[in-house]
């Protein structure tokens, strides 16, 4: 009988530690119970990825490819870069048992609490006579589900790989998070791989494979940030539609990618992130990273990226009588494109068991996008390009393959307000975010994954609703004051 990792004294100690963490989180959750309740806050639409179908295919434990799943280590990165192939002449499906099917499910049953303040709520529930809007905190808690990922990924043939990822929210409303085919090692060179479809941008620090799951902590603020008021829908963390040329050295120490993408933030059907028609333009994403071996400290990787895109400022329209004396105007195609860009540097640094992930990012939009007017019009006096600088420092401490602590601090500062925010405080739109948590993987083998996940996160958004979406649909009471939003989460993250 082969032994699994024994649950002995060490494991018991960590279990007790995790229980303590859970108790602390529950204690935090019990705070502010006097706050009025509202509708359950939505979880962010972030989909994180780990694929035990590959572990089953190759007989490797989760820890072979992941520092702590879903985050990839360099071996997993090489496997992914190589088109989900190990290169042992057993990658093609013809070598698999016919009953093997590359499907992975992932969902996280959980208890969580979401709380957001500075929201405009009725002083008298129901908004009856005498009720006025006052600043209030909306808090909700309870048992819940995350969304679900239904992964299929692997090789269609040697050097032809694919991903199909239908993904749902917690109410089983589905969309295609990823869908692509990739031609790997073109002409026998790892420097040429061509991907076609919808995919994650080739960023050094992946939001799709990170360790945070809570409502506020489950997104990188910088990856989804646009200065409030701008008409840009772009999010660097959103999967995009297009084609990517990528390459890497044999051990993936050196990596590059060049992507050409539709200018619609990855929304299928020629529709933008705002639901309006997309334009006919194309964006470009560039990424490069280099890893260095630092002896016993581990592998150090640094990289840079840049995204150059454009968004429409007005639409081709069709205005027709609506039959009741009025007219109906249909928006047809986005026109009057104006540019924007995002650029940044990032790192993945190891100090033995401590991993540090720093990122700095700068965003800049055309003044027309900040003013929200047609490019055929003259810019109003004082209109300047919205700009911001942000970043984060994330840390993971791997006690061993089954226990990891993680934390992150984030900051975004608006360096130039868009025209539509004239008169707002200069720090309007700034963000501060703090998250920490702990994951315990009680099993670590090659068939499935299970993790006990506990996490606390809190975000301060100056004058606007948090990017997590909590409080969505409710007005901020005072744009002069910050909105604090926090999340507490305890769940079982499983992946089969």
């Amino acid at each position: 009988m082969p032994r699994r990792f024994p649950i002995g004294a060490t494991a018991l100690r960590w279990s007790l530690i995790s229980a303590f963490c859970v108790a602390c989180l529950l204690f935090l959750a019990a705070f502010n119970r006097n706050a009025p309740t509202a509708q359950a806050a939505p979880l962010p639409g972030v989909h994180v990825k780990a694929i035990p179908a590959f572990a089953r295919k190759y007989g490797l434990p989760c820890s072979a490819c992941h520092t702590a799943w879903p985050e990839l280590n360099n071996f997993g990165q090489v496997f992914r870069d190589n088109g989900y192939q190990l290169g042992n002449e057993r990658d093609s499906p013809i070598w698999q048992n016919p009953s093997y099917f590359p499907i992975t499910f992932r969902i996280t049953p959980q208890w969580h609490r979401e709380s957001t303040d500075n929201l405009a709520i009725d002083s008298i529930p129901g908004g009856g006579p005498g009720s006025t809007l006052v600043a209030g905190k909306v808090q909700q808690n309870g048992f819940d589900l995350s969304g679900m990922d239904l992964w299929s990924a692997g090789t269609l043939y040697k050097n032809i790989s694919f991903v199909l990822l239908p993904s749902s929210d917690q109410n089983a409303s589905w969309h295609f998070e990823s869908a692509w085919v990739r031609f790997d090692n073109i002409k026998g060179s790892s420097w040429f791989n061509l991907k076609f479809g919808k995919f994650e941008l080739d960023n050094l620090i992946s939001e799709k494979r990170f360790l945070f799951l809570s409502g506020n902590g489950g997104i990188y603020q910088s990856y989804h940030y646009d200065v409030p008021g701008t008409t840009n829908d772009f999010g660097y963390g959103d999967n995009q539609l297009g084609v990517e040329l990528a390459g890497h050295s044999k051990n993936s120490y050196t990596r590059y990618s060049v992507s050409v993408l539709s200018s619609n933030d990855g929304n299928p059907g020629f529709v933008s992130g705002f639901g309006t028609p997309a334009n006919r333009g194309y964006d470009v994403n560039l990424a490069f990273s280099q890893a260095f071996n630092a002896g016993s400290l581990g592998l150090q990787r640094i990289g840079a990226f840049a995204y150059i895109g454009e968004r429409p400022t007005y639409f081709e329209t069709s205005t027709t009588p609506d039959g009741s004396g009025g007219t109906t105007t249909l928006q047809l195609v986005g026109l009057g494109n104006k540019p924007f860009y995002r650029a940044g540097v990032a790192g993945d640094l190891f100090l033995k068991k401590l991993e540090l992930l720093p990122l700095f990012m700068y965003g800049h939009d055309n003044p027309y996008l900040g003013a929200g007017i047609s490019s055929t019009s003259a810019l109003p006096p004082g209109a300047k390009p919205p700009a911001w600088a942000g970043g984060f420092l994330e840390g993971h401490y791997y006690v061993n393959t089954q226990n990891v602590f993680f934390a992150r601090v984030e900051r975004i500062d608006v360096s130039q307000q868009p025209f539509v925010n004239a008169g707002f405080p200069t720090d309007y739109g700034n963000v501060r975010a703090y998250s920490f948590g702990y994951r315990w993987y009680p099993i670590m083998f090659s068939r499935a994954g299970l993790a006990l996940h506990s996490e606390y996160s809190i975000v301060k958004s100056n004058g606007f609703l948090p990017l997590s979406g909590d409080g969505s649909g409710v007005q901020v009471f005072s744009t002069a004051n910050p909105v604090w939003s926090s999340s507490v989460m305890l769940g079982f993250d499983f992946d089969f």
Partner: protein, 283 residues
């Protein structure tokens, strides 16, 4: 006082006895190039990367072992296929590091090249803790590999003669497809069925991909498998001829294959088949 002296004497004696059992180079370390691997660090990496197949005890009985063919290496036996050292001897640390770095084509063992050199050196150090043999034996001395002889049609033809004469075809098959008459009966040192190498599967062998690697395989054998060492049977020049012929069985573009294709098309009637009806030697 006498009791104290007795205790001190016994303690020192036990310590000396323990020290005497340690080999000159500690089995808790490995030495790969300028790197020194540490077994304690290697244990963490072993748990992370290797335990699923090779098992917690290094005996090749990991949870995946029942479903893997060929079976994972049993480190407790300290028998390794790919070595630079003579048959029956322990491999060098570099040999183990090469194996971990290269992986084994057509098996479940991937290339661990993405790990850092230090991590691999640590793994090698830990792998050596599974067998007491590492404490009693020293690794063999790597064999000498002379410079490769020129690739000529005479060399290829002589290699073909040797392939017939030494009965390589009985296991590897007349065309090198691993389907010789003995192939189905072969077992390894763990009594597990084992298939001879199929030369048409690609350009790589389990123990490397260069001509020097192929030469080394002849001369060291693959311990734990039916593939013997030919170091005492053939001369270095003969071994190079055999290398040149075996390259003609592969599905790739090499000078050996080009020579062989040209010759075989021009002398088809003169070429005797390889196999039981060919007699010993001849083309």
């Amino acid at each position: 006082m006498k009791t104290k002296i007795a205790i001190i004497t016994m303690t020192v004696g036990v310590a000396l006895l323990y020290a005497a059992q340690l080999p000159s180079g500690s089995a808790q370390e490995s030495h790969v190039g300028t790197l020194t691997g540490n077994a304690a660090s290697g244990k963490q990496f072993y748990k992370r990367y290797c335990i699923g197949c090779h098992g917690p005890s290094g005996d090749g009985q990991g949870e995946n072992a029942p479903w893997i063919d060929p079976k994972p290496r049993d480190f407790t036996a300290a028998t390794f296929k790919c070595r630079s050292t003579p048959t029956g001897t322990l491999p060098t640390d570099e040999d183990l590091d090469n194996a971990v770095t290269r992986g084994f084509v057509t098996t479940n063992m991937p290339s661990w090249n993405p790990l850092t050199p230090q991590q691999r050196a640590d793994l090698v150090a830990y792998i050596k803790t599974f067998s007491p043999r590492w404490k009693t034996d020293k690794p063999g001395i790597p064999i000498h590999i002379p410079p490769e002889t020129p690739v000529t049609i005479q060399s290829v033809l002589h290699g073909r003669e040797l392939f017939q004469k030494m009965e390589c075809w009985k296991c590897h098959g007349p065309a090198g497809h691993g389907d010789g008459p003995s192939a189905a009966t072969l077992t390894d040192s763990k009594d597990q069925p084992i298939r001879p190498y199929n030369f048409s599967t690609g350009s790589r062998f389990k123990c490397g991909e260069t001509n020097r690697d192929l030469y080394r395989i002849f001369m060291t054998g693959l311990d734990g498998t039916p593939m013997p060492s030919f170091a005492d049977v053939i001369q270095p020049n003969d071994a190079w001829d055999l290398v040149h012929f075996l390259r003609t069985m592969q599905t790739m573009q090499t000078p050996d294959i080009a020579l062989w294709k040209k010759y075989s098309s021009e002398h088809a009637s003169e070429i005797k088949p390889i196999g039981p009806d060919a007699g010993s030697g001849g083309n």
